[in-house]
């Protein structure tokens, strides 16, 4: 038996180890690190991945400089990282300059397709559109929109406004909180006053936990605000945050490409998606360690990739992954699967969105 000499390839890891969205960041990081360890332990793989890690500490301004630092001080050209869209957009100019690639393992608001980014988690036709299509016929079309004050919340709520209008509903309120803000009393008062059919929650991290806790208290005072009558629906809530949310999450809905079965291979879709990112990256790099955006684009056009998430196709034009769409209801520390659709092709610009297909024909109103 000969000695198996693995080729060492450095890859960047750019996840915050502290800050208000640390739980999500940690989940992604765990997924990426597990994949690296598994690939390195795999004797049949010809490469050894060496992580080059930087910690932006949840400060959006540090992502670009630290990404630049990875490219300057190591041979890494691929980075797994970024949680917020804000940080992703900050990083893109650095990627373009260095010819690098970012593997982005979080759901995002769509309307982007950069050659230097591989979008490995859901975009709106894989989260918000199916979630609204599920919620409107069951709860009603009048929504209250919440968000943290940056691009994810703004853009998600913009799409939601259009969807609600198409469903024949009304936007009863739209409110934003600074990232990390936990005073939600005004939101709760407005929701109580406007009595929506559902609440779209695009708050992140601690703001989201504070809101869910306060909303649970509201539900105790007024049964109209229970998850059975007026659910809080999210496109980025996973198992990773359930310990922080506790009892107050129960019954509310989220959508994602993966919810952890019990026992589970991965603790959340963030972890699963970061793991799959490293797998797909390693798959191409093992046959061509120098591969950059052009080579990856060709590989995406030519074939599918087997990952721990199942076989994954990546659209060569938009570099977004084809993913399952699963709607889950929060139970005791896990998500019950409410519905599942496999292999939903990405449509980041919602150019194939059809209101009639999503919401059916507009309901006829009774004229007396």
């Amino acid at each position: 038996m000969g000695i198996c000499l693995k080729r060492r390839i450095e890859i960047g890891i750019l996840y915050s180890r502290s800050g208000s969205y640390q739980l999500v960041s940690d989940a992604c990081r765990i997924g990426a690190m597990r994949a690296i360890a598994d690939i390195n332990a795999d004797r049949s793989s010809g490469i050894e991945l060496v992580p080059v890690e930087r910690d932006p500490q949840s400060n959006a301004d540090r992502y670009a400089t630290l990404c630049e630092d990875i490219f300057r001080t190591s041979s890494a050209r691929h980075v797994v990282g970024c949680v917020t869209s804000w940080s992703r957009k900050e990083t893109i100019p650095v990627l373009e300059k260095a010819g690098g690639m970012l593997w982005y393992a979080c759901p995002y608001e769509g309307f982007e397709a950069n050659e230097h980014v591989v979008y490995m988690h859901a975009c709106p036709n894989q989260h918000l559109v199916p979630l609204m299509a599920h919620v409107v016929p069951r709860f009603g079309a009048n929504g209250f929109l919440l968000g943290s004050n940056y691009i994810w919340g703004w853009e998600m709520n913009r799409v939601a406004r259009d969807l609600i209008a198409d469903a024949g509903g009304k936007v009863l309120g739209e409110r934003y909180l600074r990232i990390g803000e936990t005073d939600v009393s005004r939101l709760i008062a407005e929701i109580r006053a406007t009595r929506p059919n559902f609440i779209l929650n695009n708050l992140i991290g601690t703001s989201s936990y504070a809101f869910l806790a306060a909303y649970r208290d509201l539900g105790h005072e007024d049964a109209a605000f229970s998850p059975e009558t007026c659910p809080v629906i999210s496109c980025n809530l996973t198992e990773g945050e359930l310990p922080a949310i506790g009892e107050s999450g129960k019954g509310h809905l989220s959508v994602g490409p993966y919810f952890a079965p019990r026992p589970a291979a991965f603790a959340s879709s963030f972890e699963a998606s970061a793991y799959a990112s490293v797998q797909v990256m390693a798959d191409v790099l093992s046959s061509n360690p120098e591969a950059g955006p052009a080579e990856f684009s060709r590989a995406f056009a030519e074939r599918r990739f087997s990952t721990r998430l199942g076989p994954i196709a990546i659209d060569a034009h938009s570099q977004h992954a084809t993913l399952p769409v699963i709607i889950g209801r929060i139970a005791d520390g896990f998500f019950e699967v409410v519905s599942r659709e496999d292999e939903v092709a990405p449509d980041p610009y919602l150019s194939r969105y059809d209101p009639a297909k999503t919401f059916g024909r507009p309901r006829l109103r009774v004229v007396s």
């Binding site: 373009e96 309307f111 406004r161 259009d162 209008a165 610009y349 919602l350 150019s351």
Partner: protein
């Protein structure tokens, strides 16, 4: 409650790229396909089908008037100029075609989506303004008719009251003041013709 106009869905829209074979065309095509548009590239001439296109991207560096099946400035769809050299003469030429948005070459990984939205919006605004100006022009051209109608209604008395009467007639007929004036002028000149040989009071100042 009025809502701001929503971002249009561009899926299935057709875009022509009038540019010689070049990496620029690939970069634009990649972005257009990701957004969901159908893309056709051509050089040196736009084919007849281009008349039905939703967008036309054209090369400002090597372009010339004869490439287009319309007169400069009269494109029936939004145009996006692809500008490489910023030579003043070339910019002047691109302006003569009333490009609604521009992209600087080399085209990178972004820019096409905002160019589409801006081009579409400014094209619509320009079309709307042009039709508004045409209708205002037409109304201005009716100044003389209004004067004649007011004179006819005043019959030598109060002009102010005659104008108010004209306006209230226009309102009750649900037509513009200009159209009402034309109607009144026609009616008075009919009366005048009827009374031919008589004392033509309606034309008296």
């Amino acid at each position: 409650m009025t809502r701001a106009p929503r971002i249009p869905n561009l899926g299935g829209a057709k875009a022509f790229i009038l540019h010689r074979p070049h990496p620029t065309v690939q970069a634009i095509t990649r972005q257009l396909s990701a957004i969901g548009l159908i893309t056709l590239d051509c050089w040196p001439e736009l084919p007849p089908e281009a008349l039905a296109a939703d967008f036309v991207f054209f090369d400002a560096d090597l372009g010339f008037d004869e490439q287009f099946p319309w007169k400069p400035g009269e494109a029936p769809m939004p145009l996006v100029a692809l500008i490489g050299s910023e030579a003043p003469g070339r910019i002047e030429w691109a302006l003569s075609h009333k490009a609604d948005a521009q992209l600087l070459k080399p085209v990178g990984n972004a820019g096409v989506y905002s160019a589409l939205l801006i081009a579409r919006q400014s094209f619509e605004a320009r079309k709307h303004l042009a039709s508004e100006i045409a209708s205002l022009r037409q109304r201005v051209a009716e100044r003389q008719t209004i004067v004649r109608a007011v004179t006819a209604l005043a019959k030598g008395t109060d002009d102010g009251r005659a104008y108010a009467q004209l306006r209230s007639l226009a309102m009750s007929w649900q037509i513009s003041v200009e159209d009402a004036a034309r109607r009144i002028v026609a009616m008075t000149s009919e009366e005048a013709t009827g009374e031919e040989g008589g004392d033509d009071q309606s034309h008296r100042a």
